[in-house]
Symmetry: C2
Subunit: 203 residues, 2 copies
DNA sequence: GCCTATACGTCAGCCTTGTTGACATATCTC
DNA sequence: GAGATATGTCAACAAGGCTGACGTATAGGC
């Protein structure tokens, strides 16, 4: 997981690439240009696609890396990876989830899902029961152990989020949530929004 | 394989588990409790670790997935993956970057790095030159093609970010940046902040 | 001018987690 | 009863992490 992007320095087109030293020790001219571009980018963030939002791109990258890093360490003790985490999380959050629904959420193949799901079941963290109305389906639930682990991992991540939000005023906090939601593909935004707040019930 | 390292998996007594139907069709009592908890979580997001911030956890997950999904499609045409993207990005952003520095940023092993870096060099997207002061080092630069690709990918991601920020007021935007920065491990926050705005120069 | 530490490359093998393709089984629906 | 659907499974493969071991060139201290 994990990823980033790229860039050509606005003031340094690659073909004109000066020497290494020259680039690194770029004089005050280049510095001034860069400063101006940066200031502009701050006013109209992402509005001008010619000025990539390098700051947010990289912040997002590093933030996400640390965000998933917390659980990773714990999962390791159980012999689980991120894939297990995702499955465990969504099953915990959506009791009675169907295989098909889970595949839809995770967007992986059933073979990939089955590998980790099988392990979660064998180790007693997840349980599958035949559907009541449609007995071909397998409804997924976390066991007590699974629920505890899922909760523990969620709390870990929640703590990091809590620390990050601590110094942010209320309006800023909703801006963060709005931003994250708006980063999602428009087509699935609604589905995610619905799933995110209150999966247990239509409410 | 998956072995629970030196750990006795806490057994999950299936008998304690409530029935599937009971869980899914939880009555209005449960619904009311859930509503209350959700409202509370909105006021004090992440402050109470007993109430996981499920919304932000999941939003972050889905947002990041779509965020890296854009470049993925393009990279595919070049036979590159996310690993290539990361390398290309940081080399483009930090001309003259050293192998050691890149390893530091990416936090992967040199063997992993070398695999993708070699491909990027062979395909003419990245170039390595011996260091001037220390000739053991290899200073990395993007070629013209590399710069273009990097820029193209950054613009793609910038567009998504721009759309996401479009409806967010100025204060909210800085809150987003603050949030992302604060999500990063405190220890490396400074290093990232420095790298993020203006890697070319100490400025 | 050595000698050691450092920067980097490389070979070999392993793991996780994703993929495709083909096929099996149970159950639902018409 | 026939066909669609939900799921499981076998086999093979790829990307991108990892460890361990070892090789080479250069820097730097003495």
């Amino acid at each position: 997981m994990t990823q980033a992007t790229a860039k050509t320095l606005p003031d340094a087109p690659p073909e004109t690439r000066p020497d290494a030293a020259a680039l690194r020790l770029a004089g005050s001219d280049a510095t001034r240009v860069r400063e101006a571009a940066r200031a502009h980018a701050r006013e109209a963030p992402g509005q001008d696609p010619d000025l990539p939002a390098y700051d947010l791109i990289e912040l997002f990258f590093f933030a996400y890396r640390d965000f998933v890093g917390d659980p990773d360490r714990i999962l390791d003790d159980y012999g689980f990876g991120r894939a297990h985490h995702r499955v465990l999380h969504f099953v915990a959050r959506n009791p009675g989830l169907t295989i098909a629904e889970l595949l839809e959420i995770l967007r992986i193949t059933k073979q990939s899902l089955n590998r980790v799901l099988k392990e979660l079941i064998e180790k007693g963290f997840v349980e599958a029961r035949p559907g009541t109305t449609d007995r071909r389906q397998r409804l997924l639930f976390v066991t007590e152990a699974g629920g505890s682990l899922a909760l523990r991992l969620s709390r870990l991540q929640t703590q990091r989020i809590g620390r990050a939000l601590a110094d942010i005023p209320a309006e800023g906090r909703s801006a963060v949530a709005d931003f994250l939601l708006a980063m999602i593909d428009p087509g699935e935004r609604d589905a995610v929004a619905r799933r995110v707040d209150g999966p247990g019930e239509g409410s």
